[in-house]
């Protein structure tokens, strides 16, 4: 019981207090631990955990092969992959001029070759696949269910268009005319009366045109209808306000939970 229960709790409380209050102590050993050793120890432990993960991975794939489950042939590829990169990492450098240890970060070794021509294209392409899924999701999943979702999608679309060069090619007057058009549609769907629609639509057109002639059709004025200016306003002010309240909330949530761990109020992570 001592080994399974009391010691883990002691570890959490001791190191939690040490690293939290170590920030305020000007003493070499404590400072060294808080600044350097504490995290290096963590790095060491988490690297040992990778061994654990690999053993699990190989075990699962081997079971698949031995039981000839569906798609077991591909499990062979996975195991070969582990063996291949393990070989390059620990057994064969491929370049005698480079020392062990440096071979994982120096050019001209087999490990680096794996990195450049296998690991990089795979991870980058997996990421790039998301561009396609964003496109299909925007067609099929991003729905204007309520006012909140409308706000979200509209601010997203303004950022998307306003941030790229295309946005600065669109005149603010085009946006204004577009707004008049949307206004017309909205009035039509609310009142279902052709006359209202016609009146509001044409008066909108006339007002915008007169206004434009008066100002001499400047490309980027009035600023609120020029997408690059508008997106900048959105992302510097309302966006920051929203993001800030979330940040403070998350900061507070994490602080509260950390305190909970350090004081030993929450022990679910060690199976309590």
């Amino acid at each position: 019981m001592l080994l399974k229960r009391q010691i883990p709790i002691f570890i959490v409380m001791f190191f939690g207090f040490l690293t939290l209050f170590g920030w305020f102590i000007d003493q070499k050993q404590v400072k060294d631990f808080v600044d350097i050793h504490g995290l290096q120890w963590y790095g060491i432990i988490s690297t040992f955990a990778i061994f654990l993960g690999i053993i699990t991975l190989i075990k699962l794939q081997l079971i698949k092969i031995l039981k000839k489950q569906k798609g077991w042939q591909y499990s062979i590829v996975a195991i070969l992959g582990v063996v291949f990169s393990f070989t390059a990492g620990f057994i064969y450098k491929g370049n005698p001029n480079i020392e062990w240890g440096a071979h994982v970060i120096e050019k001209g070794t087999m490990f680096k070759w794996i990195f450049e021509f296998i690991f990089t294209p795979l991870s980058a392409t997996m990421f790039a696949l998301l561009a396609f899924f964003v496109a299909s999701a925007s067609y099929r999943a991003f729905r204007i269910r309520n006012f909140e979702a409308t706000l979200l999608l509209i601010s997203g679309m303004i950022i998307m268009i306003g941030r790229v060069p295309l946005g600065s090619s669109i005149s603010s007057w085009f946006v204004l005319y577009l707004l008049v058009f949307i206004l017309g549609i909205t009035i039509n769907s609310i009142f279902k009366n052709r006359n209202y629609t016609l009146i509001s639509f044409s008066s909108g057109l006339i007002i915008v045109t007169l206004f434009g002639m008066y100002l001499g059709w400047p490309h980027d004025k009035p600023g609120i209808f020029f997408l690059p200016t508008l997106q900048e306003w959105i992302y510097k002010y309302p966006n920051v306000a929203g993001a800030r309240s979330i940040s403070i909330g998350i900061g507070l949530g994490i602080f509260a939970t950390s305190i909970r761990y350090i004081l030993g109020l929450e022990k679910s992570y060690i199976g309590e």
Binding site: G16, W41, L122, I159, G242
Partner: protein
């Protein structure tokens, strides 16, 4: 152009296109690439972790070359390792610029326990490592988040409202209007996360304003996320175009053609035998 690089370009072009082929449908090319990815990434991270953390920072502190002597039993143990695995334990101690620090035996032991927990009997051994991880995360994070996320953000929200020379309204530069937007948005947003009061009446109206700010912020995140995905796709296409040059013997084009032919053939045979259509 060296053989290694040309061969590499072919491999890279194959893997890239194999992953992209998933867009057409799940197929053997994709499955090969996917499983190769799982296996290779596991070995890759293990090697990186071992050679950049365990060997220099752990072993390099337990047996530094600075304090090497043939006589000490501690280095006698090292010499045994040296005769078995000379690549990890080079002759004369490990020179990574560290002094000897035997406190590092603690993470060493905890790490070994972590691996041993694979056996059912030693299942509990993982708890020590988890406990240490949680402690470090909690202790260090609490300070950092309090300083940068809470105090820094609270400070940022204390906006000037007078005597700054800012205009009352300006769309993109600092102005009184924009400062008020930040103040109101942050305060109402924070109120939205208030749990001990029902969001009805006036309070409900205020928190609605908060939600609108949150939604605009999510919209911006959304726009930027889309932007990033597209940029990465551009990057991928640029390298595929690069690999299709004569320098690499038009790798992309050939691999693409072969894949299309094979996929077309397989869907042709599948149509013949409808039973395999699951």
């Amino acid at each position: 152009m060296i053989f290694n690089e040309i061969f590499g370009a072919w491999v890279a072009a194959f893997l890239t296109l194999a992953i992209f082929s998933f867009l057409y449908k799940d197929n053997p090319f994709y499955k090969i690439a996917e499983h190769a990815y799982i296996g290779i990434s596991a070995g890759y991270w293990l090697s990186i972790g071992f050679w950049t953390i365990i060997q220099p920072n752990l072993l390099g502190r337990l047996w530094p070359s600075k304090e090497y002597s043939d006589l000490s039993p501690w280095y006698g143990l090292y010499n045994i390792f040296n005769s078995i695995l000379p690549s990890i334990f080079p002759e004369g101690g490990i020179d990574k610029g560290h002094d000897m620090d035997l406190t590092y035996l603690i993470p060493f032991v905890i790490g070994i326990m972590m691996i041993l927990s694979i056996f059912k009997r030693f299942n509990w051994m993982a708890r020590w490592g988890i406990a240490y991880t949680v402690a470090i995360a909690a202790g260090l994070r609490a300070y950092g988040y309090l300083n940068s996320y809470i105090l820094g953000q609270v400070k940022g929200t204390i906006v000037p409202l007078a005597n700054t020379g800012n205009p009352i309204f300006h769309i993109s530069d600092p102005s009184l209007f924009n400062n008020l937007i930040i103040l109101i948005g942050t305060v109402t947003g924070l109120l939205y996360f208030f749990f001990s009061k029902e969001q009805t009446g006036t309070f409900g109206k205020i928190t609605r304003v908060g939600i609108y700010f949150l939604m605009i912020s999510f919209g911006a995140s959304f726009g930027f996320a889309v932007m990033g995905r597209i940029s990465l796709l551009i990057g991928r296409f640029v390298s595929l175009i690069d690999y299709s040059s004569a320098k690499y013997h038009h790798a992309t084009i050939w691999v693409f053609l072969i894949m299309v032919i094979l996929l077309a053939y397989s869907s042709y045979t599948e149509k013949k035998s409808p039973s395999s259509n699951i």
